[in-house]
């Protein structure tokens, strides 16, 4: 547009005072009654002043609910969009963790947890001086084992005066918390005997062997008896 064109357009656009300007902007001047050159401006301003309602108000319930949440006394009141869904999810996760931290001790005190959990919580609380009922039976043999460390077994094996069957029985009995019947039944394996069937379960054989200094031949018979002949325990020492 040239300067000449600008001048022509300006000549068709009236100068308006502040009051007319205010009434135009407030939508109080009908386009047909607007000053020369401002008819379309009045229409544009009227169109702009009518914000679409339906499409925004369709989510009114959701937004009002969010507002109520941020207005509630317990809600975060400073900064950010505290009512946004993501923040609510994080808050919920925090509540769950807090609830778990508060709830588990209560359930433990009431002896209402599953046995392994009850036992674990009992041990933890016992360390800090809080008495919580424990399960009557330890969940695994190793936890309440009378000789729960290899060092103790090793000490027996290296310091006892017992020898042979008696030594093996002592070690076995200690290691099993008195449950072992080693040395009480059956007879020693023959010097050249071997387990009749190879078995993957050779657990304890090495331990007994090492602990007894190779003299735990009596335990083999007991193991063999209790395993139905499938145990190879101690067979290498016989």
């Amino acid at each position: 547009m040239s300067d000449w064109d600008d001048l022509l357009y300006d000549m068709r656009i009236a100068k308006i005072d502040d009051d007319t300007m205010d009434r135009l902007l407030a939508g109080h001047i009908d386009p047909d009654d607007a000053p020369p050159g401002y008819g379309e401006v009045a229409r544009i301003l009227q169109a702009a002043s009518s914000p679409p309602r339906g499409e925004h108000l369709s989510r009114e319930v959701e937004h009002v609910a969010a507002a109520r949440r941020v207005m509630s006394p317990g809600s975060a009141s400073i900064g950010g969009a505290g009512g946004s869904p993501s923040r609510h999810r994080r808050a919920l996760a925090g509540l769950i963790v807090t609830g778990a931290l508060l709830g588990i001790p209560g359930l433990a005190a009431a002896n209402a947890l599953p046995d392994p959990a009850q036992h674990a919580v009992s041990r933890v609380f016992d360390k800090v001086g809080i008495s919580v009922p424990d399960t009557p039976q330890a969940p695994t043999a190793s936890i309440d084992h009378p000789a729960s460390t290899g060092a103790e077994i090793s000490s027996i094996a290296t310091t006892t005066d017992a020898t042979g069957v008696a030594k093996g029985a002592l070690i076995s009995s200690t290691a099993s918390g008195g449950k072992s019947q080693a040395g009480q039944h059956g007879s020693a394996a023959t010097p050249h005997g071997s387990a009749p069937v190879a078995t993957p379960n050779t657990g304890g054989t090495g331990t007994a062997d090492t602990a007894s200094g190779g003299a735990a031949d009596q335990g083999t018979a007991t193991a063999d008896q209790h395993s139905g002949g499938r145990s190879a325990a101690g067979s290498g020492n016989a």
Binding site: A26, G37, E40, I44, A47, H56, L57, H63, M71
Partner: protein, 183 residues
């Protein structure tokens, strides 16, 4: 006590009907105001501004006009936050001449009945005017705010706002006439 004061008191107490009234008074206008600058973020920014309004209700005192000014101050703050993060004024500049042609200015009255007409009018304003001029017009038209209130919100003097709005409407008139809209 005015009806608006009743609404305000009830809204502070969390009454759904009252919060709904305030929501309808503010949110659609927030969307238009923010949408004039950042259409893609309009609803998110408007939602954040609405929650800020809700948070601050307990400390607001005044009539409906003061409430609008206060609410738009909040919305503008949210908009400035967005603009700082985006570091640009307009996200999608459009040639005003194209908008005039596309909008069918002869049917503005009919278009005004639809959201399309509103959006078109706002885009024409923002595309035709400088950022300051457009913001003055939008705050005055969409926010239904007075010169003093707009001056306070934008941090400018009253006389500056007067000059900006005069230039803005004259520029709009030039754009619309330049496209041959007015017979």
């Amino acid at each position: 006590m005015s009806e608006f004061q009743d609404v305000l008191i009830a809204a502070r107490e969390g009454e759904g009907w009252a919060l709904g009234r305030l929501f309808r008074l503010t949110y659609p206008r927030f969307v238009c105001y923010v949408g004039a600058v950042a259409p893609a973020d309009a609803e998110d920014v408007a939602a954040d501004a609405w929650l800020d309004v809700a948070r601050g209700l307990h400390r607001f005192e005044g009539d409906e006009q003061a409430f609008r000014a206060w609410a738009f101050t909040i919305a503008r703050r949210r908009l400035l936050d967005l603009r700082r993060s985006r570091a640009r004024r307009r996200t999608d500049p459009v040639d005003p001449g194209e908008l005039v042609a596309a909008g069918g200015a002869g049917n503005v009255e009919e278009e005004a009945m639809t959201s399309l007409g509103t959006r078109w009018a706002i885009r024409l304003i923002t595309s035709s005017l400088s950022p300051d001029q457009a913001e003055v017009v939008i705050l005055r038209v969409i926010g239904q705010l007075g010169v003093d209130e707009v001056a306070a919100i934008m941090g400018k003097r009253r006389g500056t706002i007067r000059v900006l709005q005069h230039r803005a409407l004259r520029r709009l008139a030039q754009v619309l006439q330049g496209e041959g809209v007015t017979p």
